[in-house]
């Protein structure tokens, strides 16, 4: 009984398994990967284009696809895979051709576009190059102008500097001359303060000139020249007076020497007030009451005239004197006439008439006693008096 039951149960189990196996054998098998991949490829966006580009390839691929599907459904998986692979390859080849065409079209278009943009670039670049060349020229022009301006300015500065140097040198030279002039009038002695100031200023001006400070050198030189001129002005009167005095004294001494050199003449030097006098008494020119010079006195008159001409700046008094024998008016007239005779003799020898003043003093200013004949002889005289300061 139990054995029968067990056999019945086993029979059921075998039946169920058998049915399951039979069902499984009749069911569609899983789709091969190759077929699934093929389906995906078919969904490519370029599928239509591939159909147009390579209809034979796509048709062949379609045929293989259909065949592969059938084989799959018929559970002929090996053949299904094989045909799916072959179909894939065909379709992929068609798609690659489409890709090639598309890329070529893109490349052609890009090539055209490239030519266009290269032309455009060439134009723009040409414009840029031209503009840059113009800029370079303008820059060069600017640089040249700047350099020229700088050069011009430099030259102007140099010219101005030279001009200033020349002026400063002239002024320094003028100051030096002014200082020399001052030295000549012994300003160092007679206008010490001004002279030293001028000297100091000149030294400064020379230093400034050397240092290239021409403007200051000019100003300082001007100041030095002014100071030197002031020193000259201040020293000049004293100097001239001194020089004049020295000169006059020397001349006077020379005059006295020359006058003393005339034979038979004794020179008398005296001073009346500010006036120095060198009196040359001439005696024995006239006899008794005569107003005509006796012959033989020409040598004295000649030599006297020569001395007078040698010293033309001296004014001369020609003064006649007599002894006291006679009336006063007669004596005055006599002495006047004798002085005039000497005057005339001197004029006749070339002495300037206007230098001489003629007068007759009669018996005044006797130089000896009129009581004796010798004394009277000494008083009868014509004095030629040289006047000076």
């Amino acid at each position: 009984m139990r054995t029968a039951k067990t056999l019945r149960a086993g029979g059921w189990a075998v039946g169920v398994v058998g049915f399951g196996l039979a069902f499984a054998a009749c069911a569609t098998p899983p789709k091969p990967n190759e077929l699934e991949a093929f389906e995906k490829i078919k969904q490519s966006a370029n599928y239509q284009a591939a159909q147009r580009r390579s209809p034979d390839l796509v048709a062949e691929a379609e045929r293989l696809f259909s065949k592969s599907q059938e084989e799959w459904r018929d559970n002929d998986l090996e053949d299904s895979r094989r045909d799916a692979l072959m179909g894939q390859i065909k379709l992929k080849t068609a798609l690659a051709l489409v890709e090639y065409d598309q890329s070529k079209a893109r490349a052609d278009k890009a090539g055209q576009e490239l030519r266009t943009v290269e032309d455009e670039y060439s134009r723009v670049n040409k414009d840029l190059t031209a503009t840059q060349e113009q800029i370079a020229l303008l820059q060069r022009l600017k640089d040249t102008s700047s350099q020229a301006a700088v050069q011009q300015e430099k030259m102007q500065r140099e010219l101005a500097s030279r001009d200033a140097l020349g002026k400063a040198r002239d002024k320094v030279a003028a100051a030096e001359i002014a200082l020399k002039n001052a030295e000549q009038v012994k300003a160092a002695e007679y206008a010490k303060v001004e002279f030293l100031s001028a000297q100091d200023s000149l030294a400064r001006a020379q230093a400034q000139l050397k240092a290239g400070d021409y403007a200051m050198a000019g100003q300082t030189a001007d100041a030095a020249a002014d100071q030197a001129n002031r020193a000259t002005q201040a020293a000049k009167p004293t100097y001239e007076s001194s020089e004049s005095s020295k000169s006059s004294q020397a001349r006077n001494e020379a005059l006295a020497r020359d006058l003393s050199g005339i034979p038979g003449v004794q020179v008398r030097l005296d001073r009346r007030g500010d006036v120095q006098r060198a009196a040359v008494p001439l005696r024995g020119l006239f006899t008794r009451k005569s107003t005509v010079m006796t012959p033989g006195n020409d040598t004295v008159i000649d030599q006297l005239a020569a001395v007078m001409k040698k010293y033309p700046t001296y004014n001369v008094l020609v003064v006649g004197y007599s002894d006291n024998r006679g009336r006063r008016d007669q004596l005055l007239a006599l002495s006047q006439a004798r002085a005039t005779a000497v005057y005339s003799a001197l004029v006749s020898r070339g002495v300037e008439a206007k230098r001489m003043v003629v007068s007759g003093n009669g018996a005044e200013e006797p130089v000896s006693d009129n009581k004796t004949a010798g004394g009277r002889a000494l008083n009868n005289r014509v004095e030629v008096v040289f006047l000076y300061q």
């Binding site: 094989r82 692979l85 072959m86 390859i89 065909k90 992929k92 080849t93 690659a96 051709l97 890709e99 090639y100 890329s103 070529k104 893109r106 490349a107 890009a110 090539g111 576009e113 490239l114 943009v117 290269e118 455009e120 670039y121 723009v124 670049n125 414009d127 840029l128 503009t131 840059q132 113009q134 800029i135 303008l138 820059q139 022009l141 600017k142 102008s145």
Partner: protein, 143 residues
């Protein structure tokens, strides 16, 4: 049946057998030659694929050629024929892909050149504008 007829049939059968064998040998040689030819072609394809765009496809082709050779060793000529046909198609696919890839690369290169040139134009235009401003300023300065 006459003996002569029996002999005739025998001869015919023998001839058919020999002919079939000869044809089978000829196909085997042909397949072998094709496999070798395809192997040689793979190297050429690899050289062509200087951008390594179809490396997987080439690997697949090599594996199929190995499979073909394996089948050939087993004298499964029908199977070899199928695989060889697939290899031929795959080689063609590879060639087309390489060609398309090169053309794509060329197009990309052209596109890049166009973009680059456009950028150059933009930069040059900007430089031109700057240069024109500079030029104007210099002209004003030099006046």
């Amino acid at each position: 049946m006459k003996p002569s007829r029996v002999v005739s049939y025998g001869v015919v059968a023998l001839l058919l057998l020999c002919g079939g064998q000869a044809l089978a040998n000829q196909e085997a040689d042909d397949l072998k030659r094709q496999i070798e030819s395809q192997r040689a072609a793979v190297s050429d394809l690899e050289r062509l694929d200087d951008r390594h765009m179809v490396t997987d496809d080439v690997t697949l082709l090599r594996s199929w050629l190995d499979e073909a050779w394996s089948q050939y060793s087993k004298e499964e000529y029908k199977r070899v024929r199928e695989v060889v046909d697939r290899c031929i198609a795959q080689a063609e696919l590879i060639r087309q892909r390489i060609t398309a890839g090169k053309m794509t690369a060329y197009a990309n290169d052209r596109d890049a050149q166009v973009r680059s040139t456009r950028e150059k134009i933009e930069r040059t235009r900007k430089s031109l504008l700057d240069a024109q401003s500079t030029k104007k300023a210099l002209e004003m300065t030099n006046k």
